[in-house]
């Protein structure tokens, strides 16, 4: 029984970790693209 419970929660934990890693990656990319746009918008 405990194996089943552990396996179930392990799957949830792995997904949450993957979700948070993806979140961090997306936010970094958003910052990078925002800076890129700001640089392009500045008058030369």
């Amino acid at each position: 029984m405990l194996y089943g419970l552990t396996a179930a929660w392990l799957i949830v934990v792995v997904y949450v970790v993957l979700l948070s890693l993806r979140d961090r990656k997306l936010r970094k990319e958003l910052d990078r693209v925002r800076r890129m746009v700001e640089t392009a918008e500045k008058p030369k």
Partner: protein, 227 residues
Amino acid sequence: MRTKIILLLAIVSAALLAWNLQTIFLRLPDELNQGAIYRIIYFHVPANILGMTGFGLGMLFSLVYLVTKNLRYDALAESLTEVALVFASIGLVTGSIWARIIWGVWWAWDVRLTSWLVCWLIFAGYLMLRHAIEEPIQRAKFAAVVSVFGTVDAYISYKSIEWYRNQHPAPVLSIRNGGGMAPGMEAPIWWNLLALTCLAAILVIVRMRQQGIAREIDTLRRTAHSY
């Protein structure tokens, strides 16, 4: 506002799970034939219900996208399908652990198990397909078609324990006229379903927020390329 909803859902989910765990482990007796292992049903059944419901809702929002052409519905369909796949995985793994102890084998190729595995593979393919197609409109259309096929298979899997003689147990829940559980043993399944539904809702909200960020990145990239 969204953070407050997530917090509220997390509190409700944690409280229900804590209450249920003490009910399942400390208050309910062992089942006569299966012993303690029957308790796996309290996670196996709610996880599979969430998997099937999530796939069905995902298909529904894919169809809404096809009608409205609003990509937010496609994003919602993807979020629901991804979270449903997590719960379907829990259903498959917990079922397999139960089978090893009760049947003596990890897996049996009966209609229920096979159709559910095929469904899992179809939706895993659905997510891979989405990663492979760059163009958002084409991606949403192809994904909607795959979602329809997958949901048909999910329905076949759902009904298979009524239609066919399987190694998998016949329906036990009272709403499916099963009646295979003693009074008092069924209620924790529904409470666990509610707790896991709150957890699934949190995951869908977080995934939707990520989809919003991804859309913003796409818009900014297009703006940058137009300079």
